[in-house]
C-alpha cells in the first residue's frame, strides 16, 4: 500500500530533499539511468535524479521519429539551460521498421512499446552498466494498473533483462506517492520552465496516434507539418487539446485543373475539464478557414480538411 501525499500535505522543499537523500542512499557510488520523454513526470524525475547524482545519472532522450517538429531540440534545450546533459539517441529507423505494414491501432502501440523498451532502451541500459533505473511512475499510474486500465508490466521483462541472471537491477520511483498536481508543483520548485507545463496533452505513441493506417516516415512527416499549422493557429484559444489527424481514405481533389486523389487532414479541438467528456471548441469560421488554407498551402498532398463536430462520448479525444 503506497501512502499518498496530497497537494495540501506536500511541502516541496522537504519532499525534494528527502527524495534526493533516498536516491543517493539507494545508488551509493553506482550509476543510474532514465529515459526523458519531455512530459512533466519524466522531466521532474530527471531533475530530481540530476540533483541527487549529478553526472552519475545518465539521461537519454530516444528520438523515435514520431515527435512533433522541433520537439527533441526543445526538450534537450530546456535541460541544457538547467545544466543537465541529455543524450539524444537516434532510433528512428528501428521504430519505422517495427511499424512497417501495421494498421491496427493496438498493434501499433505494441510495436512502439516493444521497440522502445526491448530494442532501444533495453540495449542502452545494458550497455550503460547502470543498475538503477529512475522512473516517473505516479500514483495514478498505479491506480490505473490495479483497476486494469493500464496493463501490468514487469519493466525488466519489458527491457529484456532477466532479473535472475542479471542480479542487482533496481527501479527507483521517487514520484510514486504523488498525483499530477503534486508533480507539477515539485517540477516547478525544481526550476523546470513553464513551457514544459503549458504544453497541451500529447499521447504516448506521439504522432503515430495521429495517423490512421500504416505509420511511415513520409506519413509522419505529413501529419507533423499539419500539426505545426494547427498548434500555431490554435495555441491562443485556451482549448483543452487540439490536433491534426492524417486519414488513410483518399478523396478527390484538383491538381493543375485535373482530378487527382489526395489526402485528408481532420482537425480536432476540444473543450474539456478532465478528458472524460469533451465537446468541440466553437471556433470561428475565420479560424477554421485559416486552418484549412494553412494546411493546404503548407502540407504537400493534402486536398481536403475537416473539423470534428462530434462530442466525447461517443467519440474519443484521439482518433485511434
Amino acid at each position: 500500500m503506497i501512502k499518498e501525499i496530497t497537494l495540501q500535505e506536500l511541502n516541496t522543499s522537504d519532499f525534494i530533499n528527502t527524495k534526493i537523500e533516498d536516491i543517493r542512499k539507494a545508488v551509493g557510488d553506482g550509476i543510474a539511468i532514465n529515459a526523458l520523454s519531455g512530459g512533466v513526470d519524466s522531466s521532474t524525475v530527471t531533475m530530481l535524479g540530476h540533483k541527487a547524482l549529478g553526472e552519475r545519472l545518465k539521461t537519454v532522450f530516444i528520438e523515435n521519429g514520431l515527435m512533433r517538429a522541433g520537439e527533441s531540440e526543445q526538450v534537450v534545450g530546456f535541460f541544457r539551460e538547467l545544466g543537465v546533459v541529455v543524450d539524444v539517441v537516434d532510433a528512428q529507423k528501428e521504430f519505422f521498421v517495427a511499424l512497417k505494414g501495421i494498421t491496427d491501432p493496438e498493434e501499433k502501440r505494441e510495436a512502439i512499446t516493444q521497440t522502445f523498451y526491448r530494442n532501444v532502451f533495453g540495449r542502452i541500459v545494458r550497455e550503460s552498466g547502470a543498475k538503477f533505473l529512475l522512473q516517473g511512475t505516479i500514483l495514478t499510474d498505479v491506480d490505473e494498473t490495479v483497476a486494469g486500465i493500464k496493463r501490468q508490466h514487469n519493466v525488466f521483462e519489458q527491457l529484456g533483462i532477466d532479473p535472475q541472471e542479471a542480479f542487482g537491477y533496481r527501479i527507483l520511483e521517487p514520484l510514486i506517492q504523488l498525483r499530477k498536481d503534486g508533480v507539477r508543483k515539485v517540477g516547478k520548485a525544481l526550476g523546470l520552465p513553464s513551457e514544459l507545463f503549458d504544453r497541451i496533452p500529447f499521447p504516448g505513441p506521439a504522432l503515430s496516434a495521429r495517423v490512421i493506417g500504416e505509420v511511415t516516415m513520409e506519413r509522419i512527416g505529413t501529419v507533423r507539418k499539419a500539426t505545426v499549422v494547427v498548434e500555431r493557429i490554435l495555441k491562443n484559444t485556451g482549448a483543452f487539446q487540439y490536433m491534426a489527424i492524417l486519414h488513410e481514405d483518399r478523396v478527390t481533389g484538383m491538381r493543375d485543373g485535373k482530378r487527382d486523389f489526395g489526402q485528408q487532414i481532420e482537425i480536432r479541438c476540444w473543450e474539456s475539464v478532465d478528458a472524460r467528456t469533451a465537446t468541440p471548441t466553437r471556433l470561428s469560421f475565420e479560424i477554421l478557414e485559416q486552418l484549412a488554407q494553412g494546411i493546404i498551402s503548407e502540407v504537400p498532398g493534402i486536398v481536403s480538411v475537416t473539423y470534428n463536430i462530434a462530442t466525447k462520448p461517443p467519440s474519443t479525444i484521439e482518433a485511434i
Copy 2:
C-alpha cells in the same frame, strides 16, 4: 452541327407542340421506351413522350439500391399524379453484385454504368419490343463529349444491342437543342411539380459516390440514413449543395463505456454559383451540433462526425 435554341428564343408551347409532332411521326404506331431517373432532363423527356404517345411510351424507373430514402416512391408519385404510369424495376441485387469488392471510384462508376445499360436497361429494352429509345440528352452533354469531358458512348453498344443485327433501333433526343435553363422552362410548362426542380444537385452514381471504399447494401444504408439527417437540417440554408459521406477509415469511439472502433461521417455544405469553385457554408455551431447529434443518434455505427472546411479547389464538391 446542332442548332441551339437559347432561353430567349424558346417559345415553350411551340417547342412542345413541335416535339410532340416529331415524336409521333418518328414512332408511327410503334412503341417507345425511356428510363426515368427523376432528374430534370429525364423527367421532361418522359412528359414530352407521354404527351406524344400516351401508353405507347413505356417509362421505367430502375431501382438500383443507391437512391436516397423514399426517392423512387417520390418520383413515381409525382408522375402518377400527372397520369403517367412508371414501371419500377427492382435491380438492387444486380447492382450490389456488380459493386462487390470494388474500391476504386472510377471502377465503381464503370460497374454502375455497365450494370445499368448492358444488364438491366438493355434487357428491358429487348424484352419490351420497343424500337424507339427516348433520351434526355441536352446540348451541354454534346459539348462535354466533344470537349472530351464526357466519354463518347454508342448507346446501342452500351445496351448490348448490335445495330447491324437488330435493324431498326432509333434514338430520339428531343431536348438536344436546349441547355439546362431551357429544359427547366419546358418541364415547368409541361406541369412537372416544383419539387422536381428544387432538388439539390445529386450525382449520377447516387449514394455510391458518397461511400469511400466498397459499396455494400449495408454501407449504402448507413449513408442513406445520414443523408436524411443532413438534408432535413440543411434544407433551409439556401446552400448550393450538401451531403453526407461515409468514410472507410475506422476511428475510436466509446460504446457502453468501452473503446470500440466505429465509423465516421463527413458533412459537406457548399456555397457556389456554378460548381466550378465553392466554399464551405459558414454554418452556425448550433446547426453543426444538431447535425452531429442527429447523425450519432439516428445512424447506427457512427461515432464521429466532421464538417468539411476546405474550398474547391483544391477539394472537389463530391469526395470521390
